[in-house]
């Protein structure tokens, strides 16, 4: 039986044009990219758009991956750039979301989760994305800094400000 391929092996195969490997890589990372985009965009249809643009970029640029970071970090870095570009277009008023952001169903989550989610939704996008990478993706300081393209000290200070802002909202 063939063993499970590593992300790096899949990406090398994608760089050679292997569509089966691309599908496998997509299945492994689609949810991660979608959730990360959702953490700062707060609109599922925009997160879908980021997922689409990110994976197209992965297909086109797979041969540029040099192995300096994890594949996950590389892909989320692309997603961050795509998502921020989309945000800039949104800010310029090029488009507006069609539907209000879907609210979580309180019946399906604990009261704490709902309160925290509501509180997190009030934070600016650059703080939400840090919270997501650290608490949901459980990234190290260095990994989060690499994805966001900012120094580790900035990640720490953003995290600190996010917690401070949340403490105000949650108390």
């Amino acid at each position: 039986m063939r063993g499970v391929k590593t992300d790096e092996a899949l990406l090398r195969a994608v760089a050679r044009g292997d569509r089966v490997a691309f599908r496998e890589l997509y299945e492994r990372h689609a949810d991660r990219v979608f959730r990360f985009a959702l953490s700062f965009l707060r609109a599922p249809h925009l997160a879908e758009e980021v997922l689409q643009e990110t994976m197209v970029a992965v297909w086109k640029n797979a041969d540029r991956f040099k192995g300096a970071s994890k594949v996950t970090t590389w892909i989320l870095g692309i997603a961050k750039n795509q998502g921020h570009a989309l945000l800039r277009r949104e800010v310029r008023g090029a488009r507006t979301p069609d539907d209000p952001v879907s609210e979580p169903d309180p019946a399906e989550t604990t009261e704490l989760c709902v309160r925290v989610e509501d509180a997190v939704a009030t934070l600016p996008a650059h703080l939400r994305e840090v919270l997501h990478l650290v608490f949901y993706e459980e990234m190290t300081l260095g990994e989060a800094a690499a994805v966001l393209g900012i120094p580790e000290g900035t990640v720490k200070s953003r995290m600190f400000h996010a917690r401070k802002a949340l403490a105000k909202v949650l108390t």
């Binding site: 569509r19 691309f22 643009e53 488009r95 459980e138 917690r163 949340l166």
Partner: protein
């Protein structure tokens, strides 16, 4: 010994177990003697528990986006014509690639032989799912490039629509 300020900065990574052994040990030692930082750790753990409530990419979402990815990346043809019979025939495909937007392959006894539009070096034969729409998931019409119907035109949607424009006439 670590100061409270240094501990507070690193608590999120302490809570997720993503610190180096040295830092983690220093924080653990600090926490043993600092009530204020222990309270902060409890707050961080509650926060960590609460983050991640968003629903992820469900299977329908992943499938929908995958179809758009394959068209935009030029993997899936946006328009396809088949002539001939099951035993022998010709397939012409139009995709979104700039370099080779047209593909043609000869079908002989169920086997596809590419004659125009070479695949990348070393690439394996494409699976049926990647080369064309599956029976379970028929292709969406071009307007599905807009995230939601009725949305205002966007630069992205415009690009996608241009890329898929020809599929209005004939999409398999």
């Amino acid at each position: 010994m670590m100061t409270c300020e240094a501990v507070l900065e690193l608590l999120p990574w302490y809570a997720t177990g993503k610190l180096g052994a040295e830092d983690a040990a220093a924080i653990a030692e600090h926490l043993r003697g600092c009530d204020a930082c222990r309270l902060e750790l409890a707050a961080v753990l509650r926060l960590r528990h609460g983050v991640s409530g968003d629903e992820g990419a469900t299977e329908p979402v992943r499938e929908r986006v995958w179809r758009r990815v394959t068209v935009q990346a030029g993997i899936r043809d946006i328009a396809q014509i088949d002539v001939g019979s099951l035993a022998i025939g010709l397939r012409l495909g139009l995709n979104a690639r700039r370099s080779t937007p047209v593909r043609a392959s000869l079908r002989v006894m169920g086997r596809q032989v590419r004659i125009v539009g070479a695949k990348r070096q070393g690439a394996p034969d494409e699976p049926e799912e990647a080369s064309g729409p599956s029976r379970l998931h028929p292709p969406e019409p071009p307007q599905t490039f807009c995230a939601r119907q009725g949305s205002r035109r966007t630069p992205f949607a415009e690009r996608s629509r241009i890329a898929a424009g020809t599929s209005r006439t004939r999409t398999r």
